[in-house]
Symmetry: C2
C-alpha cells in the first residue's frame, strides 16, 4: 500500500478517465468507428500545435518522430546546425550523423539557452546550412530555447528550416507553429499529453513539405508523405496504436475545453510557484536565465549526494523526481509540472524536497518553500 | 448498448485483467520498479519465442520491427529472396528496396505456400542470396509457409539468413526459433499477445548478430545493437511503452501458466473447428492446402458481394471480421482465432456467418456449421 507520486518529466501521470478510456474494449483500426476517433484526434492535435497543417500520429516514442524529421526533410551531405546544450540537442546531431548529414555543432553551456544573435551570425556566414535543429525545452537542463527568435531567423531564408523538438514544449507553453513559422514540430504522448509513452506526433510547414519532396534518405516506417496520404483517409499507413489514440482523443478534448491559453497559463503558474519555492529554500536553479515551464531543476546543495537524494525521495518518500544526466549526474534534481498537474502536486513536491533536505541534515526551514509556492498558486483562486 | 465482437486478425481482444493492468498508475521508466517489469517481460518473451537469445522490445508496431531486421542485418546491394504470396510478403520486399537491397521476388499464388524445393533450387543457383524473407503466417491469405523446411535450407548456408515475420505466428503455432534455426523472428503486440497495437518484439540468432556487425544501413530508433546493450541493463535505448510493457508481462505470465504447447493446441483446435464449420456450410477455404492456425479465410459464395457481407456482419450483427485486400478485395472474409480466443468465440463466429449467409439469401442450413465446430471443440472438455 506504499503510496507513490510521479513527478518526473515523462512519463507523467495519466488521468484516471483517460486510463479507463484506454481500457475499453479493443476495436479494429480499419472501421468507421476507429476512423472517427483517429480523425478527431488528428483534428484536435492541430489546435494543440496551433497549426493548419496536418498533424501526423505515429506509433513510436518521440525519438522516432525526431528521426522522421531528419530522414524526411534532408539528404545525406546536407548541413544542419544543431543547438547542443543537453542530451536531446545532442540527439538531433546523432540522428543527423547516422543519416550522413554534416552537423555543425553549436555547443551551448548546460543550463543556458541559445543566443539568437550568435545563431544569426552562423547562418549569415554559412548559407549552406539547411536547418536549425533545436529543442523547445531541453528537458535534461530545463532550458527553454528562444524558438520565436530563432523562427525569425529561418522564416525568410528559403534554404533553411527550423526543426523543433517540442516533446516537453507542445501543450506546455506558447509554441504557435504557423504564427511563428516553425517548419517541423514534434511531440510525444508521455509529457504534456499525460498519456503513456508510445505515441508521437509531427507536423510540417509548407516549406518543409516542399523539402520532403527532395529528400533522398531511406525511410519506410517513418515515411511522413505516406502518413499524410493515409491521414487524408482518416487512417495511418500501418496499424495505429489504437488504445493510445483513444486516450489521445480524450486528452485533447480536455485541452480544448480548458483552452490552450489556459493550459499554458496553468503550466506557467506551476513553474513560477516551483521556482519561488526553491528560491525560498535557497536552492540554486540549473537554468536561472531561461527556465522552461515544463520542469524545474535545482542543484542539490553542497555536501548532499544528489543520487542518494533522488533515491531517498523515491524509495522512502515515494516521490519520483528526475536526477541529472551526464555532467549533471548526481548533482541536480528536477521537479516536473507538465501534463496532469495542478496546485497540490507542487505543494507535494515542495514539501517532499523540504523534508528530504532536512533528513539529509541541510539547514532548511520546513514550510518555507511551500509557503512561497502557495503565494503564487493562490493566483488561480 | 450495441454489443460488439472483435474477430479480426489484429488488433485482437484484450483480456479484461490485462486492460486493467495497463490502466494502473504510470510509473517512471528509469526506476527499479519498472526495470523489474521490463526484465521479466523480456525473459518470458524468450519462452514464447523458444529461444535463448535476447528478445528485444520495441515501441512500434510490427512493421517497425520488420524494418529493423532489414536495416540491422543487411547493407545496400545485398541480395534478398522475398517470398511474396500476399500483402506482407510484399512488404518485406518494399522495405528491402527502400534500403537499397536487390530483391529477388519469388512470387507465390495467393492462397498457396512457398515450395521448399523451389526455394532450394533458387538458393543453389544463386549463392549471393543473403537471406530468405518470409511470413510464418501470411495474414492476408491465411497461409502458413513451411518455416521448418525453409530453416533446413538456410541453416547450413553460412551466407544466408532466414528472416521470419511471425507477427501472426509467434504464440499461435509451433515456431521454435533455436531448434529450427530461425535467424530473425518478429512479432507484434496486437495478435496472439492480445495487447493493443504499439509494441513489437524481435530476436536474432548468433548468425544474425554476426551479420549485424557488418550492416551498413543507417538506423537510429531501430538500432538493435543499441537495444541489446540496454536490455543487458534491464532497460531500452529510448523511452519504453510503459503501459504496453506492463500488459505484456501479464499476458506472458498467462502464456507460461497455460504452457506454450497448450497455447498452440488451443489455437489449432479453434482453427480446425472453424475449418470444419465452414466446410459443413459448403464454403471454400482461401488457403486449403496450408492454412495457418491464426485465422481462417473463406471465399464469399458466388452472388454475394463480399464487401457488403463483411459490412453487414459488422454493422448489423456487431461482429467485426476481416475482408480481403488487393486481388481478394470483396471476395473473401477471414475469421480470426488468435490471442484471447476460445470455444465460444468460434461458436459465435460460425453462427454469425450462418445467419449472415441466410440473410443474403444463400441456401444454408442454420446450425450446421456450428454443429461441425462443436464436434471438434468438444475435444477440450
Amino acid at each position: 500500500m506504499k503510496k507513490r507520486y510521479l513527478l518526473a518529466p515523462g512519463p507523467t501521470p495519466v488521468p484516471e478517465h483517460v486510463a479507463l478510456a484506454m481500457a475499453t474494449p479493443m476495436i479494429h483500426h480499419r472501421t468507421p468507428q476507429f476512423s472517427k476517433i483517429f480523425a478527431e484526434a488528428a483534428q484536435l492535435a492541430k489546435y494543440m500545435f496551433q497549426t493548419e497543417q496536418d498533424v501526423l500520429i505515429l506509433a513510436s516514442t518521440g525519438t522516432g518522430a525526431m528521426e522522421s524529421c531528419v530522414t524526411n526533410l534532408f539528404s545525406p551531405g546536407d548541413k544542419l546546425l544543431v543547438i547542443n546544450g543537453g542530451k536531446f540537442g545532442e540527439r538531433w546531431g546523432k540522428i543527423g550523423e547516422t543519416y550522413g548529414m554534416e552537423i555543425v555543432w553549436h555547443n551551448v553551456d548546460w543550463g543556458q539557452a541559445a543566443d539568437p544573435k550568435k545563431i544569426k551570425e552562423i547562418l549569415d556566414g554559412d548559407p549552406d546550412i539547411r536547418a536549425v535543429m533545436v529543442q523547445a525545452c531541453e528537458t535534461s537542463t530545463t532550458v527553454a530555447h528562444p524558438i520565436e527568435e530563432l523562427a525569425k531567423l529561418t522564416r525568410d531564408r528559403d534554404n533553411c528550416l527550423l526543426v523543433v523538438d517540442g516533446i516537453t514544449g507542445v501543450g506546455v507553453f506558447e509554441l504557435p507553429m504557423d504564427k511563428w513559422g516553425i517548419d517541423a514540430l514534434v511531440t510525444g504522448s508521455q509529457k504534456a499529453l499525460a498519456l503513456p509513452p508510445g505515441l508521437a506526433m509531427v507536423a510540417l510547414s509548407e516549406k518543409a513539405w516542399a523539402r520532403a519532396d527532395e529528400s533522398k534518405c531511406p525511410k519506410f516506417y517513418f515515411d511522413l508523405k505516406k502518413e499524410r496520404k493515409n491521414l487524408a483517409n482518416d487512417t495511418s499507413a500501418y496499424t495505429p496504436a489504437v488504445s493510445l489514440v483513444t486516450g489521445l482523443l480524450e486528452v485533447l478534448k480536455g485541452f480544448k475545453e480548458e483552452g490552450i491559453e489556459n493550459v499554458h497559463k496553468r503550466h506557467n503558474r506551476l513553474a513560477r510557484a516551483t521556482r519561488a519555492g526553491g528560491k525560498a529554500l535557497g536552492l540554486q536553479m540549473i537554468a536561472p536565465d531561461s527556465p522552461a515551464d515544463s520542469t524545474t531543476g535545482f542543484f542539490v546543495p553542497e555536501g548532499i549526494d544528489g543520487a542518494k537524494f533522488v533515491k531517498t525521495l523515491r524509495d522512502e518518500f515515494g516521490v519520483t523526481m528526475a536526477g541529472g544526466q551526464d555532467q549533471w549526474k548526481g548533482k541536480i534534481f528536477r521537479v516536473a509540472h507538465l501534463g496532469y498537474f495542478d496546485t497540490f502536486d507542487i505543494i507535494l513536491a515542495m514539501s517532499a524536497v523540504e523534508m528530504a533536505l532536512k533528513k539529509f541534515g541541510h539547514n532548511v526551514q520546513l514550510g518555507k518553500g511551500v509557503a512561497a509556492a502557495q503565494e503564487i498558486l493562490l493566483e488561480a483562486y
